[in-house]
């Protein structure tokens, strides 16, 4: 399968963020069903290609949405390798949940979620005008716990035995970052 030129929405160094692309539906379906990926992303149900195609039906005509997703596109390899987005966007309280997954396990452990998250968080605060971004990571997911801390998220609390993973209940850790905290981190980063 050849992949046509992907239009880029936000440019990064190693990766860029791009809108979902109908040409990639088979890849999205593969990620969603891949046991290695869905173990961390918590997709508990199988998804058929036909269901993935439905994501492209009835696009919102105008106005804001409660869900925004991008494809993480590897610039050098010219490949979609995962997705990242905001859901549960609350426009009155101005907060949202961030989620990300790298669908191709060979790209794990390369700091890609970190780069994509930085682009996404900056977008949330400087383009979407949000006040707070929150994230949830369940306990055995060490990589994401570290990523959240490295990004500057503060731990808000633990939802006890909130998820059922591999036959047992595990805690869900809730993190968040406020706009002023993010801007301060950015300012410091620029002056270093």
């Amino acid at each position: 399968m050849t992949i046509k030129e992907t239009p880029i929405f936000i440019k990064g160094d190693i990766i860029s963020l791009a809108p979902l692309n109908m040409d990639h539906v088979e890849i999205y379906a593969r990620w969603h069903n891949d046991p290695r990926v869905r173990h961390y992303a918590r997709h508990e149900f199988p998804i058929a290609l036909e269901e993935v195609k439905k994501w492209f039906e009835n696009p919102p005509e105008h106005g804001v949405r409660e869900f925004i997703v991008f494809v993480i596109y590897h610039k050098e390899d010219k490949l979609p390798i995962g997705d990242i987005g905001l859901n549960h966007i609350n426009w009155v309280n101005r907060n949202a949940n961030i989620f990300a997954e790298i669908g191709e396990p060979e790209y794990w452990g390369k700091g890609i979620v970190g780069e994509a998250s930085k682009l996404m968080i900056d977008y949330a605060f400087t383009e979407l005008n949000l006040h707070k971004v929150h994230a949830s990571v369940y306990n055995p997911n060490e990589r994401s716990l570290r990523a959240a801390e490295k990004l500057g998220f503060e731990k808000e609390g633990i939802l006890r035995e909130h998820l059922y993973v591999d036959g047992k209940y595990v805690d869900n850790h809730r993190f968040s970052i406020l706009r002023k905290e993010w801007l301060e981190l950015k300012r410091k980063g620029e002056s270093d």
Binding site: G63, V64, R65, V92, L128, N129
Partner: protein, 193 residues
């Protein structure tokens, strides 16, 4: 029937004021809303140059809105007289830029010039800033609408621009005055009392 009439007279207010309450729109009152919209005295100011059927009105006021609402409307309920006397709200809400257009129409002309528009509009403004977390509220008034121009001034709106010959009323072109109120400006006014 009598019981039903009584029920109609007991609205559940969403925002309580001194002389008026703001209440969710009531499908049983669609005939009032429609009469006001077609009333030549009222529509002259709210600029409805085309006739509206009850069906048009119902479709517009009670339309489904997906996701965060872009339009919020209230009925203005007169507390002492126990009757709906107007309609108003926030339209074109932009949740990204956090601004919206305020609109208000007192549909029963015998309630004009009694400060009711000012009271109701202040309640809508307070709701927009304190509950909906908006940053800016804007308003548009056509120049012959002296009542609304006064109301905008009393609410503390600041003139932003005048669009020349923006509208056609009673056989002549009239100007459109655009006003704005930022949240910080509103808070400052409130602090000053």
């Amino acid at each position: 029937m009598e019981k039903k009439e009584k029920e109609k007279q007991k609205p559940a207010p969403f925002i309580m004021g001194e002389n008026v309450d703001l209440v969710a729109l009531n499908p049983d009152h669609i005939e009032f809303y429609n009469r006001w919209n077609n009333d030549p005295r009222v529509r002259r100011y709210s600029r409805n140059p085309l006739p509206r059927t009850i069906e048009d009105q119902k479709k517009w006021l009670f339309r489904e809105q997906e996701g965060p609402k872009e339009h919020i409307a209230f009925e203005v309920w007169h507390k002492k007289d126990k009757r709906p006397i107007g309609i108003g709200g926030l339209g074109r809400i932009n949740w990204l830029y956090r601004n919206a257009n305020i609109w208000l129409s007192i549909g029963e002309p015998e309630y004009w010039n009694q400060n009711i528009g000012t009271e109701a509009s202040k309640m809508i403004i307070e709701y927009g800033f304190n509950e909906l977390n908006l940053h800016k509220i804007y308003a548009g008034v056509f120049s012959p609408n002296k009542g609304s121009l006064r109301c905008a001034e009393k609410d503390g709106f600041i003139p932003e621009l005048i669009e020349k010959d923006a509208c056609y009323v009673d056989g002549e072109y009239v100007d459109h005055h655009r006003f704005r109120l930022l949240k910080e400006e509103w808070l400052k006014l409130k602090k000053q009392g």
